[in-house]
């Protein structure tokens, strides 16, 4: 059994004429945190959107747990065990916390797969438990998400990915708009994944945070991978020079 969780080789992606990913290789082991850094527009989100099935791949290969995979849509990525917290808002303002946590993967009592009766009791209980687990204290699973603060919303997004205990977690700038305290919580959470063998990709512009929690740091610029090294081999100042 290898420790390899995800292996991407020679990934390429074009947006029309824009060559957004150029022969990018990436490897993640179980229980490893990759810090992915790079300037705005470097291609970080593009890379992870391919891994989580949001975008198709123009060419290249992806192996997950040693098997070649063809991730055609987000559902396939989730079924493999790849959870993603996107850079943009993936909450539904008008819907309750419980609905948001389980959206797309609701526990049901009975019915056909796409038309089944929701198990609301389970949704309410489990969503509150998942939210407690990420250190957030929200009163009720019925509150619509529009009434939460930015940090609380991020907490719900993290609880969502945590609940579905994935094999791999991708966090695209999860600490944007968060207070110092809440940021620390997110960092702690990512740290805690290591011990249960979950591999993660952590994208952030805050190089101090990246340096603190990552085992390995991957830098990108203009669609190319420009560095890939264990964090012990580098310092924050060097990283600033590298990608700045």
């Amino acid at each position: 059994m290898s420790k390899d969780l995800l292996k991407c080789s020679k990934l390429n992606k074009w947006y029309g004429n824009l060559h957004a990913l150029k022969n990018v290789d990436l490897e993640i082991n179980k229980g490893e945190v990759i810090g992915l850094i790079g300037d705005n527009g470097a291609g970080k989100s593009t890379l992870i959107k391919i891994i989580c099935g949001v975008h198709g791949l123009d060419n290249g290969e992806i192996y997950f747990e040693g098997h070649k995979v063809n991730i055609k849509n987000p559902k396939m990525a989730m079924d493999l065990g790849i959870e993603t917290i996107h850079q943009y808002n993936t909450m539904f303002q008008e819907m309750s916390i419980a609905r948001n946590v389980f959206i797309g993967r609701e526990p049901v009592k009975f019915g056909l797969s796409s038309l089944s009766i929701l198990n609301e009791k389970k949704m309410n209980l489990e969503s509150m438990k998942a939210i407690k687990d990420v250190g957030l204290d929200l009163r009720s699973p019925h509150i619509p998400v529009k009434e939460l603060s930015g940090g609380e919303r991020q907490g719900v997004a993290i609880a969502r990915s945590m609940y579905f205990k994935s094999k791999m977690l991708i966090l695209d700038e999860p600490t944007n708009h968060l207070s110092v305290k809440e940021t620390l919580k997110v960092l702690e959470y990512v740290q805690s994944l290591k011990s249960i063998g979950i591999g993660s990709i952590f994208i952030s512009h805050n190089l101090y945070h990246v340096h603190e929690i990552a085992d390995r740091i991957v830098g990108m610029a203009r669609g190319e991978k420009v560095c890939d090294m264990p964090k012990e081999d580098t310092t924050v100042n060097e990283l600033i020079k590298l990608i700045g």
Binding site: M95, I103, I117
Partner: protein, 326 residues
């Protein structure tokens, strides 16, 4: 005493303002005209109600999913015309004919969905095109004169009288209850709201937004077709202009009932109240012998007032912050 919690959840319901206006108008109209609140008058109002409400219900579900359908008035004619042609010219069993009439509606809904979702055209435009095409089909396949409704056609199960009502009202109630249940209590219902509110996020969370929208287009179309069949059974004739102009009335009902043009908001109950509001306004104008042309004015005013009220109540609901002891 009402808890803050209850008031808040009441205010934030999409159909709240429609319900408030509804109660207000019932009271006012009762004073304006003593004939308003009598049972015979309500029987008149209720006779066309199920047909309009079914169309508004379909539009509401589609609007929740973030789309829109202008072709419902034309589908309202296509389904009964197909049904009658199959009964009269092809001598098919009437149930089979009705099912095929509904299938025609479903197909139109499917085409609307493909054009809108696959080609990424605003549904407003796609279904505007379908409004003309479907109406044209209705005229062409019937040669301009659809066969008349056979005298011996069993219609009681659909439009027969029960006391002062028509059976169709029970069909409406049944269908509305099912729709409400699907919207509020099933995973598919959740996906409809999610798709309407934030399609990209819904997609990225693994929801097949294409099928969610397509299903809603089909539901909307089939309900419009079914409503058309009910109407043709009730008036015992089919004409090619059946349902002309109905689309705007149905959309007005949906919007008054709290459905949002932006998607993600609306309810089955709202569609029922919205439709009823439009009908009682029409009714009071007739009772009071006011020039019928004021109807459009009243509907227009109602739409604007209902939407403003909606926004206001929603805002004030959002302002009520619950404390821990609530």
């Amino acid at each position: 005493m009402f808890s803050k919690n209850k008031i808040k959840s009441l205010l934030s319901r999409p159909e709240f303002s429609a319900l408030a206006i509804f109660i207000f108008l019932i009271v006012v109209f009762t004073f304006v005209n003593e004939r308003f609140l009598n049972s015979r008058n309500f029987m008149v109002i209720l006779s066309t109600y199920p047909e309009l409400a079914l169309v508004a219900l379909g539009i509401t579900i589609l609007m929740i999913s973030g789309e829109f359908d202008l072709s419902v008035g034309s589908v309202f004619a296509v389904s009964p015309i197909v049904t009658m042609i199959l009964i009269a010219d092809y001598e098919l069993h009437y149930i089979v004919s009705i099912l095929l009439g509904l299938l025609a509606a479903a197909f139109i809904g499917f085409v609307n969905a493909i054009v809108t979702v696959k080609f990424k055209i605003p549904s407003f435009i796609a279904t505007l095109g379908m409004l003309f095409m479907a109406r044209s089909i209705a005229v062409v396949i019937s040669g301009g004169f659809p066969p008349s409704v056979p005298k011996d056609l069993p219609t009681d199960w659909l439009v027969g009288r029960v006391d002062m009502l028509r059976v169709s009202i029970f069909w409406l109630i049944g269908i509305a209850l099912i729709c409400n249940y699907i919207l509020k209590k099933t995973n598919f219902g959740s996906w409809i709201y999610a798709t309407g509110e934030n399609k990209e996020a819904a997609k990225d969370l693994g929801i097949n937004t294409f099928w969610v929208k397509t299903t809603c287009f089909i539901i909307c179309s089939v309900l419009a077709g079914f409503a058309g069949i009910i109407q043709s059974f009730r008036i015992k004739t089919v004409i090619t202009s059946l349902g002309q102009g109905l689309e705007l009335q149905a959309i007005a009902s949906a919007v008054v009932g709290g459905a949002s043009l932006m998607g993600g908001i609306g309810s089955a109950f709202g569609a029922l109240i919205g439709t009823f509001l439009l009908l009682i306004i029409d009714n009071i104008l007739i009772l009071s012998r006011i020039d019928g042309n004021w109807f459009k004015f009243a509907v227009g005013a109602l739409i604007v007032i209902a939407v403003i009220l909606n926004t206001l109540t929603k805002n004030s609901a959002d302002k009520i912050r619950l404390k821990d002891d609530d």
